[in-house]
Amino acid sequence: MSIIQAQNVKKTYNADTIPVHALNDVTLNVEEGEFTAIVGPSGCGKTTLLNILGGLDDATLGHVEIDGTSITQMSDSDLIDFRLHHIGFVFQAYNLIPVLTTKENVEFIMLLQKQDEKTRDARGMELLTEMGIADKADKRPSELSGGQQQRVAVARALASKPKFVLADEPTANLDSQSTKDLLDIMLRLNEEEGITFVFSTHDQRVIDRAKRIVYLDDGKIVNDVTVKK
């Protein structure tokens, strides 16, 4: 079953002056449980595609459905609520809340979902344990390494029990070991818990471990490969 359906998506910046076509008629379906990498050179439209799939940006033309719900015409507040309950985000720069501890960062999403304290506490610790950073629960992000921060970001993305996780260049700021550790975690979550991951990258180490690779160039999908492993 397709969890993400993007049909004929176009995105044009500066339509009134010098138009830049970031996405040009992109159609992409992502099935539940996939581990998909969107790859391509800088400026090919990877981040724009992820933003549109995540409801962070509007498509100029085209249609996006998430788990059977069209997000194309959704109001701003409905979209925020939809993201909160259906989509997990991991960003290149981790983007943790600097004044909250590791555990509070993970619990924050659940707080927004109005989950009770007991549930938040249990799920927060469970996720941190799963990420191998339970001992850092009371540390602030500034006291963690980049790899550890990105693991917290993944835990935060999973805290809301989303339908899928969108990760924009999640390993771009990580060293080799941290990249390997993070990919191990993401793959394990994908294989053991069936969590769908869609991430943009141009890091070959990540591409090598993806199960599906969507190649973008000049805003168009030029290749879509499912890797048999």
Binding site: I80, L84, F91, I97, V99, E104, L112, Q113, S160
Partner: protein, 406 residues
């Protein structure tokens, strides 16, 4: 966690927060001190006028207040004075018989304000007995006078000397008498100190040939807030066709006007001060917003509603301003309490200037809650108004643009 988040956010940039809190705090301290001193001086002026002279409410013959001559005296009896005592809130009832007369001793003469008083009641209102610096205080059945220190000095009189009084009595009767000086009183207000003569009411009525007549009855009320009720009660007891009942505001309109004008100019200064603080606060709020655009973008992306984020920012702003406000007020309170209990005594030319204006040469500090509440409201509304900038910025924020740094 929203409150925790807001509180911790304040301390993300400690130096900036300290500076903002410090600037608001010092402005509050300055404003509170300024207003306390002004309110204190107004209270002093009112106190001088009410406590030392008019009382809170006065009763006279119709037309007396506009034309204060002895011919406009009113006929009274002891029943009226007694019934005034019974009104709830009335603490003192002070009858007077006042006029102007020429005082003389030896070769010196001076126009004087002569006041026939009930010595005990007068002391209750003005504390006249406490102002005695020589001799003894009057009794109701005395045939002697008290004179003010300035007048005694001018006439070169001492206790025991005989004062000559010469003037016009009721309906042009001649008023002439001699009285021994029983005591000398000293007033802080120069005009009063230079020309006052006190004698018991029966003597004044005899002198002015005005038996059973009074020029005024002053009432003191326990609380200023009860004045209106007491005034109404008095009006219901007297014949308003022949008598007029006035409260202290009607009795001293020029004083109120002077206070209002002074208050306006100091409010103007205060607004300038607020404007300066306002710009400081706006600067901080703008910086807080600008440097966190990326973070706001992330939070909206992960599912935090704009309203919740606005709530966090509003809480941050309120916490910061109220922290400054409470520290500011807390810092001023001990000093203000001390100064309220121990007013600063003016000396030299400043004292002379104050006395010339008819007020005690004191700088008093007020502690009325209004002073503190007004600062709190002003700062609160300023934060609320200036807070629109970050709140609007969050409302208009596009997460993708914010995260791109556009």
């Amino acid at each position: 966690m929203i409150i925790k988040l807001a509180w911790r956010n304040i301390w993300r940039n400690k130096r900036r927060s300290y500076l903002t809190i410090g600037s608001i705090m010092f402005a509050v301290i300055l404003a509170v001190f300024m207003r306390s001193m002004q309110f204190g001086s107004y209270e002093n002026m009112i106190e001088n006028s009410v406590r030392f002279y008019t009382g809170h409410v006065q009763i006279h013959q119709n037309g007396y207040w506009d034309d204060q001559v002895i011919d406009h005296s009113m006929a009274t009896d002891s029943n009226l004075l007694e019934s005034l005592h019974q009104i709830e809130g009335v603490t003192d009832v002070v009858p007077r018989m006042e006029s102007f007369i020429l005082s003389a001793y030896g070769t010196k003469t001076r126009g004087s304000l002569i006041m026939g008083i009930d010595p005990q009641a007068e002391h209750g209102l003005t504390g006249l007995k406490d102002k005695l610096i020589e001799g003894e205080y009057l009794e109701m059945d005395d045939s002697s006078v008290l004179i003010s220190e300035g007048l005694a000095k001018y006439l070169k009189m001492e206790v025991g000397d005989t004062l000559v009084l010469l003037g016009q009595g009721y309906h042009s009767a001649s008023a002439a008498a001699i009285y021994p000086v029983k005591g000398i009183v000293k007033f802080p207000v120069k005009a009063q100190n230079d020309q006052s003569v006190f004698l018991p009411i029966p003597q004044a009525q005899w002198l002015f040939d005005a038996p059973e007549l009074l020029t005024s009855i002053s009432l003191m009320v326990d609380k200023v807030g009860h004045v209106a009720a007491v005034t109404n009660a008095v009006k219901s007891q007297v014949d308003l066709e022949t008598l007029e009942v006035m409260d202290w505001q009607e009795l001293t309109p020029e004083l109120l006007q002077a206070i209002e004008i002074d208050n306006l100019s100091s409010k103007f200064m205060l607004y300038i001060l607020y404007l300066v603080i306002g710009f400081g606060m706006l600067g901080t709020f703008m910086m807080m917003t600008a440097e966190r655009q990326y973070e706001f973008g992330v939070m909206i992306s992960i599912g935090m509603s704009r309203l919740k984020m606005q709530l966090v920012i509003a809480l941050e702003m309120m916490m910061m301003t109220f922290l400054a406000l409470f520290i500011g007020i807390g810092a001023t309170l001990p000093g203000l309490i001390y100064l309220n209990l121990n007013p600063i005594k003016l000396t030299g030319e400043m004292a002379v200037a104050a006395e010339k204006q008819g007020v005690e040469a004191l700088i008093k500090f007020s502690l009325v809650p209004e002073i503190f509440l007004n600062q709190a409201w002003a700062i609160f509304f300023m934060a609320l108004f200036l807070g629109f900038y970050p709140l609007r910025s969050i409302q208009k924020l596009k997460p993708v643009k914010a995260m791109r740094g556009d």
